[in-house]
Point group: C2
Chain length 346, copies 2
DNA sequence: ATGAAAGCGCTAACAA
DNA sequence: TTGTTAGCGCTTTCAT
């Protein structure tokens, strides 16, 4: 650690300029790969930067130009699906000058507002909001203030781009898989939604709609049976209890999320039933634990990595041109059959 | 969204000052709860702030004073243990003016350096580094630049505070649990470490040392058997394969992390053995999935929430007084027995 | 208790 | 192509 002994004042653009015998403007231009710098100048400046170990002060840059920071808001950090999105994002941004910073575990509109405001206050160059629950009004406000991409929500807006997996099709994949196995009484555990905006936009609502539609398409309209709880383990437990208490029990349960399926397994085990012999169970999200051998849960894999990569691409585009028309990217999920689904007992 | 039709320039401290008929200095003081403002001034300014919907520009604040931002570096976002730490952190910081931003999924020294630099470049007021793998030199450099707390690493330094769980004791909890059940041949799967600094500081190395020590303390020194791989599912798989191939097989495996235990279960299942009838398995971290019914893994719970809360407290202290002596907080883990451990076959 | 004014490090407009 | 200069929005002396 070679450092001057002086009370280490941080190296500034002025130090670099003096060291390289050029103007600060020149240094600034080199930093931003801006137009109008001779190769000789480039070399001189880069060398000075390296020699002094200079790093630009992001706050100062932010006062005039960009901060080279992209904010990503996540609903929580435990869902591995988000981790995949993040991988796609960071990998796509790795070759750029942008740094990704995450807004931590928020749930509910208030927390989301706090995080989005914090990011705007910090002059971030662009925002990626993953599965936000905020109102349309808030999303429009955010997108009106800073380039924004919304991930995992189906509503479209002129103000922001969206990237989402096709949850409607994903639900159909599950229904078809179970129906192909011979199931007819296929129940669904849903995350209940009452707000009309949300019913139109939130993935959980789309999955429920996809379930209904697919059941009809398979001629199983009479067997549509939804337990409306929440996308939590507890919700899965309660939802499965409801479904198991029906006069005629379903032979398969489509849980709207893997974590919901975990709760369902609890209830099924408590009821003394076996999976998949007595009842099949499928989840959604293909979370890491779905693949663990003792669980081996049939699930739907969202193209997390691609979602992230697309979001990054759209955001960079929009930072360059804030006026281009909003884009909607929809990606296709795939079914991952495992050992929790099997033909129904004869 | 009532906003002026003008190309919405952001409200600044000058707008507030004019609106409240006071100086910008006064507004600044109110913002920072600084000394020397009359109640009347307070009221006037606060009202103006509310009426204009003013929010301070963090970049501008950072140029002279604080950014009110705390950076948290996480090794990855999928480990639920980190999520608990984060809960403790954010809850402790919720009542303050500080905003937490996360540095995303890094693995390896290079990525850690990138994130820590990015946080320093953005003038963050304090950093919390969770389970960093960087060299002591880099940690000292970071801590010398900005108030820093290191979480989950056992080395101490004058430059930074540390918060860690007592992995040595945690490993003993597992060994004692298994020995109490009657096991003698207890194998361990380790994340191999060669660097001397790391062997002294990294949790995995401490766990291995704790395992050795506890085995000796129970008079089982002859049965110490470590498969040195990595803390991954793959590492667990390979490690268990090694242990199962011994001339005399262990009756219990202590995996250094829950994810490692998942890999071990794969290998055990492949070998046609049952858990816990033929072999017991214990993990470490008490990750969310350990509690899922099909897994039900005996594990060690680290006091994640407390770790986070302590880290936040120490950091705030240090931001106030950068010269106070460094503190080391060590918290106690607890064993969570579940269904993967049982007495050995007779 | 209050305010005027300097300046943090950088970028952008403009001059040369 | 290069350099000069004026701020960006805030905090911090330092007067008053």
């Amino acid at each position: 650690m070679k450092r001057p002994l002086a009370p280490s004042r941080r190296v500034t653009i002025i130090d670099v300029a003096q060291h390289a015998q050029v103007s600060t403007t020149a240094v600034s231009k080199v930093l931003r790969n801006a137009y109008g710098v001779s190769p000789a100048m480039q070399a001189k400046v880069r060398q000075a930067i390296a020699e002094l170990g200079y790093r630009p002060n992001a706050a100062a840059r932010g006062m005039r130009g960009q901060t080279y920071t992209i904010g990503v808001m996540l609903p929580n950090i435990i869902n591995p699906f988000f981790s995949q999105i993040l991988d796609g994002l960071t990998e796509h941004l790795a070759s750029t000058d942008y740094q990704v910073l995450l807004g931590p575990g928020c749930n509910g509109e208030e927390a989301e507002a706090k995080v989005t405001h914090a990011m705007i206050d910090r002059s971030m160059d662009g925002l990626i909001l993953i599965a936000p629950v905020s109102s349309r009004a808030h999303l429009d406000y955010v997108a009106g203030t800073v380039p924004t991409v919304i991930v995992g929500r189906h509503g479209r807006s002129r103000a922001y781009d969206t990237v989402a997996d096709d949850d409607f099709t994903g639900a159909a994949l599950v229904v078809d898989h179970l129906a192909d196995l011979g199931h007819r009484r296929i129940g669904h555990i849903d995350h209940g939604e009452t707000d009309p905006d949300r019913i139109a936009e939130m993935p959980n609502a789309i999955r429920a709609a996809g379930y209904r539609h697919a059941m009809q398409a398979r001629g199983l309209a009479d067997h549509i049976d939804i337990a409306s709880t929440t996308y939590t383990q507890e919700g899965g437990y309660l939802g499965a209890q409801q479904l198991l208490a029906r006069p005629v029990r379903p032979t398969a349960i489509f849980a709207g999320a893997d974590i919901v399926a975990m709760g369902a397994l609890d209830a099924i085990d408590e009821a003394g039933l076996r999976v998949p012999e007595d009842i099949s169970v499928a989840g959604y999200d293909n979370t890491t634990f779905a693949a663990f051998r003792p669980i081996s849960l049939t699930s739907v894999d969202q193209a997390g990595y691609q979602i992230g990569a697309n979001a990054a691409r759209l955001l960079l585009d929009r930072i360059v041109d804030r006026t281009r028309p909003a884009a909607q990217v929809k990606l296709s999920p795939t079914l991952v059959p495992r050992r929790t689904t099997a033909p129904p007992a004869a």
